[in-house]
Symmetry: C3
Subunit: 411 residues, 3 copies
């Protein structure tokens, strides 16, 4: 994202200071792992460690991107912009925690458009009575985000249709692949738009960029990027390995962990940057960070995960749970409403945070389904095989996911 | 609401004249009650009587609020702004008519954003070709209304999730309480916003206020407020007592009565004021009345009712029926669309009324569920206890409310 | 639609040239029919033939409308604007293909707001960096379209409510009639708005109209209109007759055929005109064509079809399938988002096309339900008669259509 290109210029050295203290969590987590500490400690340690590592990855990417020029640099930014989220999700994907993967995708979109945007508007609004931003740029970005999110959610909605039965799992995977191809194609189109045909829309003035002195050489930046990426991978492996146990110990369901905790960890860098620039009254940038990051999740990270899942024995689909579907729809619609009027105040920020809190409460109270997805599917398939004999072939079979009113049963 | 503060200035003495003729319905209803008249007569009489009483309560509140200054006065206005609705709902709540309470909440939001706003735009639009209003103020209010409504509806949507089973009633009540706390917190924040930090946004000029002569002394206003409140309480008690019988006699279901009839009665004062100011081309005020009243229902009246229900043996939740959820979502989204462009014409007003008519038709044709909510719950719980033995623990149990495709059954 | 009034002025003779070559499909299809060709050939031939015939009908209507003046002419335009769609749908209606009728209604709205609008924005955006249009006019039209679509979908949503059981088919038909009456009433109001009270809003300048020379006499235009209408009727009869067989041979379900193929054929004239005017940077007109045509389908064509169905033994209702409901809601909301900011670029056009592609994919993969609607209803009714004895009268009965999680079964 070119939003990122402007980010580096806004990083306050003092912020880097205290956030980087969290780097101490990296060796601490490794020690805890070796010492065989409980999953709560590993979960907390790796989560804390990822926050500054993701920030370092972002910073190193910025530095390299700036030297490589807008073309290749923009591409680098766009690809590595949400690399921490992608790495965490890949580990969860190959451990078979598809629910956590999808929860963290939905949570990442939600976290950006409600939590990051809300905190920015609130923080900025407490300092300035009303803050203005370019409504055209924000509107275009927000509309694209709505389009991307709706596209992303279509497979989940398809799954819930009464016409779709358990025998149609093949169709659902074909649809997921088709949708992923369309999303990644629009992502490429979006890159062409922001890096080639309409790059001036996203870099109205580069005044900010000049303020900053490049404090890393190319070699340092490359080294930081490689080391941070490796450490993020290591921490993600520990984090994902601890999610299930941590959820049992904490009495939280894994969807909540994915939607709220993992998403907050993965987006902490965007979060602190957006709040900082909002405090400087650079609302275009704050809104752009939140929208751009959410857009990248929907158009790039999600399809890449679907494609990557074909390296597993069984691929992952894009069937989000009903609460995830609902939360993302509400989140992106509300973010667009707030963004499009080109003005913000502290109450709007607070209301976004209130909606986030209400959704997080709902995810928190959501009962954990004890049966695994695979077991459910088997049960449903057995059920589906019986169905035609009992009720004729027109009977859709209730299943989990967003099928409301699902009621499997057997004679 | 500070909207109210401007209302008093707009009350036409001639309007007060004929509306106040309806005060004759107060003694008439008392006589009918003593004479043991049928529920239809009691329902009609008390409904007619509440209309001018609610108007008097509003006027007395205005008068007192004006003298008490913007701080305390604004608080008074905000608390008593929808006092008639609140009193009616409290009587219904303590008679155990939870469905009617929730229907009148949903109907109050709908009535304000579709009926009151639609009638104002239509009436104003027949006199003026295009009417303009401040799109920023209207947009902020409308966005807040959308946020508030979505928050209010989350418990109903949670209830419909496939993961939520009959055993989770405790969770649902915890969620309702959590959501109510968040809503009332944002209500307080909204008061701070409109009375302290951004009060100028809502009182662009107080020119209107000076036109009006104060015709009541503090003592008169206090007396009027107390007497009108007591009479509203008496009439509400009669109204609520007659709802069930009236619905049987009229062949209407109680949801329709709550959503349409009770809501119209409770909002009649806002209705006539909004139309009058629209005819004077003061569209900011007309839009503000409709939006502000709806916002107050969602952020203040609804949570207060949830808290009040904890004085009963069994608390009330915020589980609206699916049609209520849908209608409120459609209503607030459409109201925002109409409000945000900052311009209105008669066709927009007519279209809002058409949507209201279509939704009212749907509520009218909605079949009455004969079993009471409590009976349903018991049946479902019995069912839920059997479920795990029959189908495994992953089977969510179908229930009423917005669970689509619900299909309870037993072996 | 007065949009149409401006269309004629924009028809490029060269376009007429190659499109009219498709008129050769008219005799070819008749020959194929007589020769007893397979349904695929008849389907393809009649589809190709309707494209230029619909264009000719539109052109002849324009010519006549212009001479008859804005009043009667506007009425003529409004009535015949979507005449080709109406004729096709009437043939399908009286053959009992209610699913195809409703699919083509939904597809027509979708096709206009996603495909026609998307292609226009993309084509225009490839030539001009940013294209501007009147946000007020586009916003009013888009808001009306949202209102109209939501009204149109209420019967489908009503059908999916848990309170609505199989016994309530009568209620559903009454609701469909009531909604149709309200829609057609708002259509008349819309005509008054656009032809009488606010006609200047839609004809900002008639400069375009003067560019064009009238090349047909009144007599020629009338003759063209009559002959083209008759030929459209003949081709529609062949098209509809071939739909079912074609869908089997092509391995596509009839909903997909209706939503995508039939809708594209019926809207081909609007499509090419909108793209052409977008290439001329006349975005007001391009947006107006797409919105206006969709609005006419929702407010005029759909109710007329419901009324017409009362000439059959069994009337048609407005119960769209869940995917149709969802697609229309997504389509009109997104079209409004794109329209309201008053600016467009190629990426917005591409995103609209991407959403259309994703929805078309979902319709394509939708499994065909083998049981006919009537058989389903009978099964459900039998079920419903048993239900009260088994589970008490509070048990809503699962059925098809947008009932999510439907699961009929019997002991």
């Amino acid at each position: 994202m070119t939003d990122r290109a402007a980010l580096a210029s806004c990083i306050d050295p003092r912020r880097g200071g205290w956030i980087r203290l969290l780097l101490l969590a990296v060796p601490a987590t490794i020690v805890l792992r070796i010492a065989g500490a409980g999953p709560i400690w590993l979960f907390a340690g790796s989560a804390l460690a990822i926050i500054p590592l993701a920030g370092l990855m972002g910073e190193a990417t910025e530095q390299l991107a700036e030297r490589l020029g807008p073309g290749i640099g923009g591409l680098l930014n766009a690809t590595f912009g949400n690399a921490a989220e992608l790495i965490i999700a890949l580990f969860a994907l190959f451990k078979g925690y598809d629910e956590v993967v999808k929860a963290s995708l939905a949570g990442s979109i939600l976290g950006n458009v409600l939590l990051v945007l809300g905190a920015s508007l609130l923080a900025g609004g407490l300092k300035y009575s009303t803050q203005a931003f370019n409504r055209t740029a924000a509107g275009v970005g927000a509309t694209m985000l709505v389009l991307a999110s709706f596209g992303l959610l279509i497979p989940a909605i398809f799954h819930a249709l009464p016409e779709v039965t358990a025998q149609d799992i093949g169709l659902e995977h074909e649809l997921s692949i088709g949708v992923s191809l369309i999303l990644i194609f629009t992502y490429v189109a979006h890159l062409v738009f922001s890096l080639v045909t309409h790059k001036n829309l996203f870099n109205p003035d580069n005044a900010d960029a000049h303020e900053e002195e490049d404090h890393w050489s190319n070699k340092t930046a490359t080294a930081v990027l490689i080391v941070a990426t490796l450490l993020v991978a290591l921490m993600s492996e520990i984090l994902v390995g601890a999610v299930e146990h941590a959820s049992h110990v904490l009495g939280m369901n894994s969807i909540f962990i994915g939607v709220v905790l993992v998403a907050i960890v993965g987006n902490a860098a965007e979060h602190s940057t957006a709040v900082l620039v909002a405090l400087k009254n650079e609302m275009d940038l704050a809104v752009g960070i939140a929208m751009g990051s959410a857009l990248q999740i929907a158009l790039f990270v999600a399809p890449v995960l679907v494609f990557a899942s074909y390296l597993r024995p069984e691929p992952m689909d894009l069937r989000f749970t009903s609460l995830e579907v609902l939360a993302v729809v509400v989140g992106v619609l509300i973010a667009r409403m707030v963004a499009e009027d080109g003005e913000s105040n502290w109450l709007e920020g607070l209301m976004l945070l209130a909606v986030y809190a209400i959704l997080a409460l709902a995810f928190f109270f959501l009962p954990e389904r004890t049966a695994s997805r695979t077991e459910q599917r088997s049960a449903t398939e057995a059920h589906a095989r019986l169905e035609p004999f009992l009720f004729g072939s027109h009977a859709p079979v209730g299943r989990s996911s967003i099928r409301l009113g699902y009621l499997p049963r057997e004679g």
